[in-house]
Each structure stands twice: as structure tokens, then as C-alpha cells.
Amino acid sequence: MSGQAQRLNVVPTVTVLGVMKARLVGATRGHALLKKKSDALTVQFRQILKKIVQTKESMGEIMKTSYFAMTEAKYVAGDNIKHVVLENVKTATLKVKSRQENIAGVKLPKFDYFTEGESKNDLTGLARGGQQIQACRSAYVKTIELLVDLASLQTSFLTLDEAIKTTNRRVNALENVVKPRIENTITYIKGELDELEREDFFRLKKIQGFKKKEIEKQMAAARKFAKEQAAGELALKKGLPLDSGFNLLGQGSQKDEDIIF
């Protein structure tokens, strides 16, 4: 990447300068807001992480207990109990539904579980093992609760992770690419405008100079003319033709043959 951010290719006019300035203000504002969003998301992220660690630990414990409850049920009610229960089931009684939660602008999915319908398995193991089977059932219900919670937490974790990465990317982009670019553009435009101004100024000065020279020339010409006029009038007054006077002066300057000196 270029070390110093380049600048945008624009025509260096005043309007464009105005536009660039507005954009810089926008970028700064956006940068501050996104940074705040990123911080909020990071706080949430850390909280979710802590909860996930806790839930996973208790998950280990609870799964162990429920598997053991299953063993107890198998011991008392016979090994076939699993098949007996499975065959008796038509639809699930515990179901999961998902909804969306909005955290700092990011939509996170959350799962809830709910029971639907009566379980027909209340009388399973009537002759032996009923107690253990019901205990096993409640142990596994708890496990499912925990699993659903863990699922919500993990999906939120992943989504938040994505969101934080995107936001941070944008923050960094604004900070390191967009703003310098716009600043450089502004600097460039200002520079160009200054140079134009200088050029103009220089041109003006030059033109002024010329004009002055012109005027001086004219003044000199006019003075010369005025002098001639005066001399002409003088000659007229003396009765000399304008030309003679002139001639006189002219002849005087020429070598007269008549005059031998």
C-alpha cells in the first residue's frame, strides 16, 4: 500500500473544496460513531464469552448426571427401555423457536425452547422403573435447556465476532485511508488554488507593468509631440515655414556648399 495515502483526482475548484471539507467532517463523525459501536459490541462480546465458558462447564456436569440417570433407568426397567420409549413417540414435545434480538444495532439470533403437547410417556415403566424413567426424563430436559442456551450463546458469539470485525475494519479504513486521502485532497486543492491565485496575481502584476510601460511610452510620445508643437509654433511666430524652420534646422545640420569654411 502507498505509505502516504494518495489523493482523489478532482478538479481543484472552490466548490470541490467545499465538498471535500463536508466529506471530511462526515468521515470524522462516522469514525467517532463507529468506534463507539465497536466498543459497545466488544463489551457484549466479552460478556457472552464469559457466559459461554460457564455454560460449557456446567454442561459437562449436567450431561454426566443425565447419562447416569439413563443408566439407572436402564438398570431398573431393563435394557429395552430406550426402544420402548422411542417407539412410543410421534412428535417431539420439546421444541425450539428462534427470534432476533437487537444489540447495538446488530441482529443476533436467540433460541428459546417450549413444550408443546402432552407426553404420552407418563405411564412408561409402570410395573418397574417408572420413578427412574421420570427422573431420567427431567434430567434430560434440563440438559436440553442448557443445550438451547448454549446454542443461542454460540450463534450470538459468532455473529458478534463478524460484526465486530466488520466494524473495526471500517473504523480502521476511515482512520487510515479515507481521512488522510480527503485531507490530502484538501491540501492539494488548497495548494492549487493558492498557485492559481499566485499566477493570477503575477499575471495582474505583469499586466500592470505593461500598462505602466504603455502609459510611459505614451507619455513620452506625448511630450515629444508637445515639444514639437511648441517648436512649430515658435517657428510660425518667427515667420519661418514650418518646414523651413525645419529645413533650416535641417540645413544647418547639413553641409552647405556655399559656405566655404
Partner: protein
């Protein structure tokens, strides 16, 4: 009454009684269970078991051993032994041996019926059945679409037919909850078995009546406890109690009225043989009840071996073997799930 058996029993039953006593001496002892409880992994268990009678069955299993494989192989051993005895038996011993497995047959039938009602695959269902309860026409159970057809086409030919006709009309079959059906069938089976044993007479009748009475009473207590708080009405409950046993009829009357565990305890403690069971439980606790019942059952089953020349030893052997398989399942699961501290909670030592 006892004298005549000694003369004629050995003609037909002597070989098999000797076989079953041989099997019984191959059951795991307390020392074996202690060793197994000390194991750290399932491979250790496999190693210990290969030193016992289960050796040839577990030898060929590949190394990441699963608890269900252990249980399967042990059940396989039981089935092999049972089949060996059944093929060698003559009447009436063969009928007696078949009676011993009707309980599993009922479970299998109920399983296949529920599975068919919910449209599961037949082959899968067949694999889930207990091997001791298989009979030839079991696969045809899946053909029937409703209970009436089921009875008419299939069940009529099985040995379970009379149980169905006795207790339920065909309307009931459609609506009835599966568990209630299963328990009604089992009640009919117990009563039938009881009558059969009475017919056999002699030591068999006496010992089997005792064992079956215990079974019936245990079921009555369990049904009562497990139906507290469910939608099972008192009349339905009473219908599920058998019509023999210590608790019949007065105990059943009282049990039908019970609404919680302490009332049940009060009712049962009036009968001295069952007092010891409930004395092991503290008030309000029902988790250990099943284990207490298993212990009591094992005690009675072992006592049946003290006498000779009767069929109850076969029944006792099958039950003791099932208990042993349960113990092995419990120990393997505890080891596999790293719950070694709970191992001694439910292991019932047989000797």
C-alpha cells in the same frame, strides 16, 4: 407329597437339573464383582470376564469395547443355555421353560405393535426385541394395521392368545394406552403361570407359588407408586393387580387408595415378609426401592436351590442370570462414565 418326586423326577428331569445347577455354579461370585468394581476401563472388565464363564463370548470383540456389546454378549450366553435346556426338555418341563420366557414375549409383542402403529421399519423393530422372547411368527405382527386385525391374524396362533382374550375386548385394544395393555397382559400371564404351577403340584407348586406371589406383590407395589400423580384412575389401577399373592385382596384394596409413598409403606409393612424391604428406605425416598426389591428377589431365588427335584431351579436360574447381566451392565456403565463412586449403589451380590 415330597417323597414321590425323588423317585421319578430324575427320569425326565435329572439331566437338566444337573445342567442347570452346573450353570448356576458358574454365576459370578462376590469376589468376581469386587474385582470388576475395581476396574478402571472397559478393557479391564473384558479381561476379568474372560477368566469367568463369559470368556469365549467376549474374546472376539475388537478393542474399543462398548457397554452395550458386553450386555449383548452376556444375554447371548443366557439364550444359548436356555435353548440348550429347552431342546433337551420333555413335557411338562418344556412348557414350564416356555412359560418362563412369556414375559419377554409380551414385551416384544408390545414393542412391535407400538412401532407398527407409528410406522417404523419392521427389521429395525425385530432387532430391538429381546432374544429370549422371540417366536416364529413375530415378524408377521407388523403386517396388521390395527389391533383387531392384529388379534385375529397373528396373536391367535401365539401362546399369548388366551391373555388377550381374557382381559380385553377388541374395542379396548384400539384405545388403550400401551402400558396398560402391557400390564394387563402380564397380569394374565402371571395368573396363568400360577395356575400351571399349581397343576404341577409338589415342590414345584410350593416354591413357584412363593416366587410368583412375590413377583405379583412387587408389581402391585410398583404400579401403585408409579401411578401416583398420573392419570391412571383407581379402578384401572385395581384392574392391574393380580388375583393372588400375599397382598390380595385386602392389601390391594388399600393400595388402590394410596396417594403417596408413605401410605404405600404403611400398607406393605403390615405384611411381615415385606417389612425388611421398606426398612432399608428412609422416609420419603423411593430411589432405592427397586434395588431393595431386587435383593429380596435374589434371596428367594437362591433359597430355591436348597431343594431338589423341582422345576423352580430353572426359573430361578433365568432370573438370577438376568440379575447378573444387570449387574454387569451397571458396573460397565459406571466404569465407562467415570462414576466409580456409585458402583456399589446398585450391584446385588448373588452369593
Amino acid at each position: 407329597m415330597y417323597g414321590f418326586e425323588a423317585m421319578s423326577f430324575n427320569i425326565h428331569g435329572g439331566y437338566l437339573e444337573a445342567i442347570v445347577r452346573g450353570y448356576r455354579s458358574g454365576l459370578l461370585t462376590a469376589a468376581d464383582y469386587n474385582n470388576l468394581c475395581q476396574c478402571e476401563t472397559l478393557d479391564d472388565i473384558k479381561m476379568h470376564l474372560s477368566a469367568t464363564e463369559y470368556g469365549p463370548y467376549l474374546q472376539n470383540e475388537p478393542s474399543p469395547l462398548h457397554t452395550t456389546t458386553i450386555v449383548e454378549k452376556c444375554t447371548l450366553k443366557l439364550v444359548d443355555e436356555y435353548k440348550h435346556m429347552l431342546t433337551q426338555a420333555t413335557e411338562p418341563m418344556s412348557t414350564f421353560l416356555e412359560y418362563c420366557t412369556y414375559g419377554h414375549m409380551i414385551d416384544n409383542v408390545v414393542l412391535i405393535v407400538t412401532g407398527t402403529l407409528h410406522e417404523r421399519d419392521v427389521q429395525e423393530l425385530l432387532e430391538k426385541c429381546h432374544p429370549l422372547g422371540m417366536f416364529d411368527s413375530i415378524a408377521t405382527l407388523a403386517v396388521a394395521q390395527n389391533m383387531r386385525e392384529l388379534y385375529r391374524l397373528v396373536l391367535v396362533d401365539t401362546p399369548l392368545a388366551p391373555y388377550f382374550s381374557e382381559c380385553i375386548t377388541s374395542e379396548d385394544l384400539d384405545d388403550m394406552n400401551i402400558e396398560i395393555m402391557r400390564n394387563t397382559l402380564y397380569k394374565a400371564y402371571l395368573e396363568d403361570f400360577y395356575r400351571f404351577c399349581q397343576k404341577l403340584g409338589g415342590a414345584t407348586a410350593e416354591i413357584m407359588s412363593d416366587l410368583l406371589a412375590f413377583e405379583a406383590d412387587r408389581r402391585a407395589v410398583n404400579i401403585t407408586i408409579n401411578s401416583i400423580g398420573t392419570e391412571l384412575t383407581r379402578d384401572d389401577r385395581r384392574k392391574l393387580y393380580s388375583n393372588f399373592g400375599l397382598l390380595c385382596p385386602y392389601g390391594h384394596e388399600e393400595l388402590a387408595l394410596c396417594e403417596d409413598l408413605d401410605q404405600v409403606r404403611g400398607v406393605v409393612e403390615k405384611y411381615p415378609p415385606y417389612q425388611s424391604i421398606f426398612s432399608k428406605l428412609s422416609y420419603g425416598e423411593s430411589q432405592m426401592l427397586d434395588k431393595a426389591f431386587y435383593e429380596e428377589e435374589v434371596k428367594r431365588l437362591c433359597l430355591s436351590y436348597e431343594q431338589q427335584f423341582h422345576y423352580a431351579v430353572f426359573f430361578a436360574y433365568i432370573r438370577l442370570k438376568e440379575q447378573e447381566i444387570r449387574n454387569l451392565m451397571w458396573i460397565s456403565e459406571c466404569v465407562a462414565q467415570n462414576q466409580k463412586s456409585r458402583v456399589h449403589d446398585s450391584v446385588v451380590f448373588i452369593f
